[in-house]
């Protein structure tokens, strides 16, 4: 990293010192050198981009960028019947961040321009031929095909993921909530206040709620991952067993839960477990219970029910994966174990399980992080309910961090705290991933596959 930066400055310095007038003018007027050397397409592209950058900054970017430190000072007001428009913190923050990225992108472009000029110069001095316009364009489908392929996806990810995430990270340090909705009420930077609020265990702080939701999120992810994993493995072994017929049929029957859209199946299952639902209805009719089991009302029972329903969702998925992998275990391993008099359980523990854990280590990790953010199962089943008076900000007893975040955004427009929670989710995911990833035995060199 450090070396790379040094090399960048070396190139710029060398280009200036050794460069001719074409090269040096290109420092200010991008694409000048290329144009004079006959590379019209590239030169014109650089020049147009520089023009666009200047136009953007003058007519748009600078205005927002300059207010980024305060997020606006003049609120929009109504004086008698006239509306006097002021600043809009939301726009200032969003376009301010955009401008920062545009400036960075321009810096990179400027460097590419200088480097390109310098390289052309070197070619000329060595007496080699400069690539023609046609060759330049053709290289986009050959040597530089990666740029063609990645241009659109990277732009999409930038606009629809990077920009919004940076925006929300910034919101975590402002007081943007329902009392500060621009443009009538501006919001501004408040430093670490929101984080302090989240982690304070006083009567007004959210510390206790956060701790409870966080613990439940981790407990849920643990059970949802490992119960599904082992039960799915068990089902796969059962179906794979010698002497069991219609293997394909059994698998297909289970796979239906993957195929049917979750909102249909989960909403139906949610109703099945309701107080007036099928399960309670039949249990009462058969006289096994006298009053309905409060599946979704009792906090502890609700949590257990969610985990059980999730097994229903998760087993088929794991079963599919395990089926393929189980067949990869060499049969003679089992054969020799059998000769040594090993029981089925011993073989499972000494052969099957270690192999599976080794091969599916990374998969388990992704499953775990996915479950930390498993919005659909929780939201469709309980929406985080049962609610509790003890919890702050509408949090319920089965809320995960993400469903809580969602509720804060949609119900309460408490964006400042939602942003903080989002950052917390990121931290939890990142920490879990890093710690587990380094423990995995199967982390191998990526190039090793090729």
């Amino acid at each position: 990293m450090g070396k790379g930066i040094i090399r960048i400055f070396q190139t710029i310095g060398a280009a200036f010192k050794e460069g001719d007038f074409r090269c040096r003018i290109s420092f200010l007027l991008m694409g000048f050198g290329q144009l004079l050397r006959g590379q019209f397409v590239k030169g014109a592209a650089f020049m147009l981009l520089e023009g666009a950058f200047i136009k953007y900054m003058v007519s748009f970017g600078a205005r927002y960028f300059s207010k980024l430190s305060t997020l606006g000072t003049v609120a929009t007001q109504k004086v008698r019947r006239k509306t006097i428009y002021g600043d809009n913190s939301f726009l200032i923050l969003l376009f301010g961040i955009l401008t920062v990225f545009v400036i960075l992108a321009f810096a990179v472009l400027w460097y590419l321009n200088v480097k390109d000029n310098y390289e052309i110069l070197k070619l000329v001095r060595e007496g080699k031929k400069i690539p023609t316009n046609k060759e330049n364009l053709a290289s986009l489908f050959d040597k530089n095909f990666d740029k063609t392929l990645l241009a659109l996806p990277v732009t999409g990810i930038f606009v629809f993921t990077v920009l919004p995430i940076v925006f929300m990270i910034c919101v975590a340090f402002t007081n943007y909530d329902k009392n500060h909705q621009a443009p009538t009420n501006l919001f501004t930077w408040v430093g670490l206040e929101n984080f302090e609020h989240l982690l304070s265990f006083g009567s007004s702080g959210m510390g206790r709620t956060f701790a409870q939701v966080l613990i439940w999120t981790l407990v849920w992810a643990f059970f949802a991952t490992f119960l599904d994993y082992f039960l799915g493995l068990a089902v796969a072994i059962l179906i794979n067993k010698k002497g069991i017929r219609f293997k394909k049929l059994w698998r297909t029957l289970l796979v239906v839960t993957i195929a049917v859209p979750q909102f249909v199946s989960l909403l139906y299952v949610m109703k099945m477990f309701a107080n007036d639902g099928l399960i309670n209805g039949y249990l009462m009719k058969w006289g096994w219970i006298s009053s309905p089991i409060q599946f979704w009302v009792d906090p502890m029972l609700a949590r257990i029910t969610i985990i059980v329903v999730n097994i229903w969702i998760g087993i088929p998925y794991m079963m599919l994966i395990a089926t393929g992998l189980l067949m990869n275990i060499p049969e003679d391993l089992y054969e020799s174990a059998r000769i040594d008099g090993a029981s089925g359980w011993q073989m499972f523990r000494k052969i099957t399980l270690p192999y599976m854990l080794f091969v599916t280590g990374p998969f388990l990790l992704t499953q775990f992080t996915n479950n930390l953010n498993n919005f659909n199962v929780i939201y469709l089943l309980t929406q985080g309910k049962p609610l509790s008076m003890k919890l702050a900000e509408n949090a319920g007893n089965t809320d995960l961090l993400v469903t809580w975040l969602y509720k804060m955004t949609v119900l309460d427009t408490n964006y400042r705290m939602a942003a903080v929670i989002g950052i917390m989710v990121f931290i939890v995911t990142a920490v879990v991933s890093l710690v587990v990833y380094n423990m995995l035995p199967s982390v191998r060199d990526e190039e090793g596959f090729q």
Binding site: L150, I165, V256, V264, F363, A419
Partner: protein
């Protein structure tokens, strides 16, 4: 010994049959209840505590097709979104995977690591910002369908893992041989890699096609309050969450069946590719 084996097999069959019943029961229930009328004169349309309807009727299906609600419109919306997302996402994923698997350019590992970290942020974090961006282009409420297509595909480049893993297993020597013969990278990609990647293309498209059917979060936020641009998940979730006395539950069941059957059949036909994809993805992580 043999007796023990047979006994073991019988136990296994019993367990398998029990599992199958548990797994299929909700769908069976959904199917039966979709035939219970919601007309109060015939039967109650809310949640009841019995499985088999007392009188079978097609009222729910009639209601859905009668134009009293926008059901057909919702269905069409979802179908359009799903098809567009499947096509565009597959193209993007193929491009990104090929570039990352075959080309070595500066910033490649940085890009992969950066996307990995980016993926650790919860998706809903971006919701209000995305809403604002879409609104600028008029892609919310009435324009929610193209808006949702845009949101669904814009960041799909980050989901390259499985596909790249597949490309990595295609020997590089093939590429090199073609390139020595004078083929450009683009030609190798279009005429060699893509035809060889049928399973992974089908897998990617299938997964992308399935996702919009369950998209509740973004769809409800982007289409907020505009009935005509709801997708099925948003519109019908509303039916379940309204109070039971309105009796919309059986109509939800009927709609659920109409959605589940085509999607399930499609999935079952392409199941082979799906299994290949998830197994490959699981091993390579």
């Amino acid at each position: 010994m043999k007796k023990k084996k047979i006994a073991g097999n019988i136990v296994s069959y019993i367990v398998l049959i029990l599992i199958s019943i548990v797994w299929l029961f909700p769908f069976f229930g959904l199917f039966l209840q979709s035939f219970r009328s919601y007309d109060p004169k015939v039967e109650y349309g809310g949640m009841v505590d019995y499985l088999v309807p007392k009188t079978f009727s097609l009222d729910n299906y009639r209601f859905l097709f009668s134009g009293q609600t926008n059901f057909l419109k919702w269905y069409a919306n979802t179908l359009i979104i799903a098809i567009c997302v499947a096509v565009i996402q597959t193209v993007i994923v193929l491009c990104v995977s090929y570039a990352l698997s075959r080309m070595r350019f500066s910033g490649r590992t940085f890009l992969m690591r950066f996307w990995l970290i980016l993926g650790m942020f919860p998706g809903f974090l971006t919701m209000i910002c995305l809403y604002f961006l879409l609104k600028q282009f008029g892609l919310t409420q009435a324009g929610a369908v193209p808006g949702l297509i845009l949101v669904g595909t814009a960041s799909s480049g980050m989901g390259y893992y499985v596909c790249k893993g597949y490309f990595d297993t295609i020997p590089k020597a093939l590429d090199d041989a073609a390139r020595i013969d004078g083929a450009t990278r683009a030609r190798v990609f279009f005429t060699m890699t893509i035809p060889m990647s049928k399973p992974i293309i089908i897998y990617t498209a299938l997964v992308a096609f399935m996702a919009p059917w369950c998209d509740y979060v973004f769809a409800s936020y982007v289409a907020f309050g505009h009935d005509e641009s709801f997708n099925v998940a948003v519109a019908m979730t509303r039916w379940v969450w309204t109070n039971d006395y309105q009796g919309y539950f059986t109509r939800f069941c009927a709609g659920g069946i109409l959605i589940a059957i085509p999607v399930t059949i499609l999935f079952m036909c392409l199941q082979k590719y799906y299994v290949e994809g998830v197994t490959g993805g699981a091993v390579k992580g």
